[in-house]
Amino acid sequence: MTTTHTLAAEKLTLGYGERTVIEDLDLVVPPGRITAIVGANACGKSTLLRAMTRLLAPRSGQVLLDGKAVHRLPAKELARTLGLLPQSPIAPEGITVADLVGRGRNPHQGVFSRWSREDDAAVAAALEATQTTELADRAVDELSGGQRQRVWIAMALAQQTDLLLLDEPTTFLDVSHQIEVLDLLTDLNRARGTTIVMVLHDLNLAARYADHLVALTEGQLHAAGSPSDVLTEECVRVVFGLDSRVVVDPTSGRPLMLPLGRHHVREPAGASAGDGAAGPA
């Protein structure tokens, strides 16, 4: 699989009813890379993802996949290139892992076509990649949170899309499983060149795992670029309304945000701002 697909938003305005959530947004997703979208609650992160998979029609502007407006592409054709894992998908009671992962093959099947060898291979590869092969015959509701999330990712992999959009893939997971999921997504990106776009809540994990960081505030693009360019104390103040220090994470070399609350801070916030270890102050 080679990823040459481009995904971009052009003067995109989105909203529900009277409320405008995203206004006049221009955004380019770098192909073959991992993009993380961060921002405060209700800044329009998930809404943007919904528009990219045409769950939500834009008020104006458009989302372009390879230069074509996604809202004019046939549904199944789009689903063969662009996959989506929503924040809380539903696992039908009693469904087995293999059955669930197999449903990722939907866009590759016609009304009358039968389950093919290709479908089998795709499901097996997806289980293998997420290390869920041994769970294939288990019921999804019996699994732990971390296992379940791996199974959902396996389902998205079985769809075999070059672009994968994930809405908060780490919510409800404890920290070790968060890392496990993000490592898995990074493996995919490295091994297959899958372009990954994910909404993440945790700024530090976003900075750590993304090649390209997009910060939204109140439906507008605040900054986009490499994590060290985007994640600055200034950015955290504007996007989250939070005073912080940004230092270099000694384990990854990526920026690491340390919030300054009103308590438990050793020195006055003002004194240290700017002279921290973070480069782009």
Partner: protein
């Protein structure tokens, strides 16, 4: 998690769906249905000897016994057809709404068909079989749209309980309308009443022939929706991500299910709970894949209604108990069991 290190090729065979159990259950259900068909022809409120049964199957209706059996044949056929339609309709409805409580009876859709037909009887001189079918389907459609709209009001959209409540309230209202229309009309009350309780007793092959085209279209539409229903089961967002046009798919599948239960109601009156019980039973047997679940629900529905009809003929000898009453007797406790057992959230 450690990788077992097996090559992916044998895994491909491993992850194939467990087919044998399903095939086995399929054979079991077919065998049970076959046995029930034989029983339904052989047993009735009048005891008939084997010679008469054989003669009647050969087309003779000279003795009383043979005549009784001759009447049982279309009756059995009707029970099969109506049961299949209701079982399938319920399975599709549960899939479309992701609601374990969905059923043409519970959601008030059969009563919609009922009211339309009764109103037709009373005011429009509706006595042609085809007109009854069209009227019933239209009534079912209107009731389905109405209940879905009411159940979707407020926060959280159409949750299972809201939908069931909207359906129950609508059914109650429609039932009282039916009563209001029927009571002052002594001339038609009796024919309406027997139709309304739900019965297959008055079956003729002509009546079956009238509804059959509608049922076949409903069957085709429903079965072709199976794969889309599988996607829909994962949530609207994921279904859209898997390339389904969610609103369209939902509309088409709902149409198929309304055709089925509307036509079934037109010919046998409102029969509740078959559409509720059967899909749950089938999910236990063959799992949640609609490509198996839907045809299975049709077969099991046919078996259940045939069984109910046979039991109804036997328990109240020399009279008969209508199937509608029997399915309600089985279905009501079952309904309570589902509500109690499940976190009645979504399928």
């Amino acid at each position: 998690m450690t990788s077992t290190g097996t090559a992916p090729a044998p895994d491909a065979a491993l992850v194939r769906r467990p087919g044998p159990a399903r095939v086995l259950w399929l054979l079991v259900v077919l065998a049970v249905l076959g046995a029930l068909l034989a029983t339904s022809v052989a047993i009735g409120s009048r005891g008939v000897g084997w010679a008469d049964i054989v003669a009647a199957l050969g087309g003779s209706s000279e003795t009383i016994g043979e005549a009784a059996v001759t009447k049982r044949i279309p009756r059995t056929a009707l029970a099969v057809v109506v049961g299949a339609a209701l079982g399938l309709s319920g399975a599709v409805m549960q899939g479309v709404t992701r609601n374990p409580l969905a059923d043409p009876g519970v959601l008030g859709i059969n009563m919609g068909a009922s009211l339309a037909v009764v109103a037709g009887f009373a005011w429009f001189g509706l006595f042609s079989e085809t007109a009854i079918v069209w009227t019933a389907i239209a009534g079912a459609g209107v009731a389905a749209v109405f209940v879905y709209a009411v159940g979707s009001l407020g926060r959280g959209g159409p949750t299972p309980l809201k939908l069931a409540l909207a359906g129950a309230a609508t059914a109650a209202a429609l039932t009282s309308f039916v009563t209001a229309i029927t009571l002052p009309r002594g001339d038609i009350a009796e024919s309406i009443q027997s139709w309304e309780i739900g019965g297959v007793g008055g079956a003729t092959f002509d009546r079956i022939g009238t509804v059959l085209p509608f049922l076949l279209v409903g069957l085709a539409v429903s079965l072709l929706s199976a794969r889309s229903l599988n996607s829909l089961a994962l949530g609207d967002e994921l279904a859209a991500g898997l390339g389904e046009r969610v609103a369209l798919v939902r509309g088409v599948a709902a149409l198929g299910s309304v055709l089925l239960c509307g036509a079934a109601t037109a010919v046998a009156g409102p029969i509740a709970f078959v559409g509720l019980v059967v899909p749950h039973l089938c999910r236990l047997l063959v799992g949640v894949d609609h490509r198996w679940l839907l045809p299975f629900s049709a077969l099991t529905g046919a078996a259940l209604l045939t069984a109910a009809d046979v039991v109804g003929r036997v328990v109240a000898r020399p009279g008969e108990l209508d199937v509608g009453i029997l399915t309600a007797l089985i279905g009501a406790p079952f309904f309570i069991w589902i509500v109690r057992r499940q976190k009645v959230r979504e399928l």
